[in-house]
Symmetry: C2
Subunit: 335 residues, 2 copies
Amino acid sequence: MATINQKIVLASRPVGMVSESNFRLVEEEVRELNEGEVLFRAQYLSVDPYMRGRMNDTKSYADPVGIGEVMTGEIIGPVESSKNPRYKEGDIVAGRVGWQKYAISDGKGLRKIKPSSVPISTSLGVLGMPGLTAYFGLLDVCQAKEGDTVVVSGAAGAVGSVVGQIAKIKGCRVVGIAGSDDKLNWITEELGFDAGINYKTSENITEELKNHCPQGVNCYFDNVGGPITDAVFPLLALNSHIAICGQISMYNSEKGEKGPRLLWNLIVKRATIQGFLVFDYFDRFSEAMPELTEWVASGKIKYRENVIDGLENAPRAFIGLFKGENTGKQLVRIS
Amino acid sequence: MATINQKIVLASRPVGMVSESNFRLVEEEVRELNEGEVLFRAQYLSVDPYMRGRMNDTKSYADPVGIGEVMTGEIIGPVESSKNPRYKEGDIVAGRVGWQKYAISDGKGLRKIKPSSVPISTSLGVLGMPGLTAYFGLLDVCQAKEGDTVVVSGAAGAVGSVVGQIAKIKGCRVVGIAGSDDKLNWITEELGFDAGINYKTSENITEELKNHCPQGVNCYFDNVGGPITDAVFPLLALNSHIAICGQISMYNSEKGEKGPRLLWNLIVKRATIQGFLVFDYFDRFSEAMPELTEWVASGKIKYRENVIDGLENAPRAFIGLFKGENTGKQLVRIS
């Protein structure tokens, strides 16, 4: 009997907030492997905020997903069969092959995951793209160093939670901004952040930050943008660095949003803002991975996963990212 | 008979657009010199946009000017008398001693101007702070290199006109944005810019820029901010650099202005925005000055001065900066 693949395709382009109706689950037979190909099965799918941009019909740093095409994304799981000498049945591989249960790959771009003491799902989170994003964004773009005050928005997310913990390892003072008291409790009580601010209940984020950052903000790692980022600007320290990793607060905006003009602050503080993509650091992943792996293995970096079961629920898991429903890495467990 | 000094003091703080009523001319006797002091006379006063910030009662990168205090600014002229062994009568010196006809200094922070083939007024412009600002902003902050496309706003001003010419020397394609056809004629016909855009008459600055910058914008040197800067953002090239030198379009705003939120562009283009102050490059002035001097002496950098006579007219000259009245460096000739 033929194996049936399930995949989530883009049914329509969202206008404003993405909804489940923008996705469609389709089934199809898995075809025979050609020479050099490998078939693997998804145990986990990663859903990430950046995917919202791919749903728009505009060229960003990558091409948009076409209508009817499988949603872009990374899955991880075992090789089911292989006609590629580099992979054998049972190997665990991760690949950016989209939201689907089975994938056929020629092996290019696949990562083989070595067996280790940590669950394979971490390869989509703390030991995958989000962890590497945190590492390079904080250490390279923000240039965080001992004694700095680091502020991170989206602090309880897959990236932000790792940013804060690496900053603590490096001897920084760390303040996280997140959207619930539960998230703040997690980052301060379990992850060791020095302070947290609930942007949903704060009456004045800048004033709260000022109390927590008496020396100003040397590094701001921005995952969200919008009014939260506006609130950080007045507290920038001299020669401070802002890393623009994400702007999740605006991904579902129907039209461009307006905000205060803030560039003048950059002169006053001789500050630098830099946008970055983790893929630009590809050549240095091998420098970061052993360090991240050691920190996770030794418990210096803790992580949490928010798991939703069933590929059919991937759209709901994805939409939850924009509602702040996840603490830590949002995953979809498929089988 | 005692020598009478004239000086322009801050009479009141402007609310919104600065006006002549915010200044007052006062006279006072020049006192006797103490040991170690030098008296010098202003031939020229430099008026510069940054001074607008000093008129507000807010701490920026420097303290505000107090009510009744002399306006901050740099003058240049001959030493009249000296009890400082480093200066003798007739020496030409420049110093940031404020808007006044005579100044007594202990010599600290004075620059002695060597006799040369160029007029001494250039030490307040192309061979002074504006020229150095252009040099470091373009070469260090923007990291302009051969083959880059450079866009500069305020292109016919004291800084912008030098930015474009240094960029041409370095083998860049240069597009200037300015506010009159006369200014554009000057920068393209005389200074060698490749193209110019009149932001006051352009129907779509972004579209015009796109035509002039087919490879995108690698370096944007920003003197003005606001909608002109918004228009450049969509054209940023990969790994582009924006130097924030000034934001003159907003210096007279009564309350903070709003504009489109643009930080997302920085991720897409992995672009960097950096605010800078030329004074942070003080230790490297001696590296830049010989090069600038040679370029001016050899005619590779041309300059223009907009001269208004009379210290009493300094407020009018200053206000003219915000109306775009100057082409090149705005100076006040005092005696």
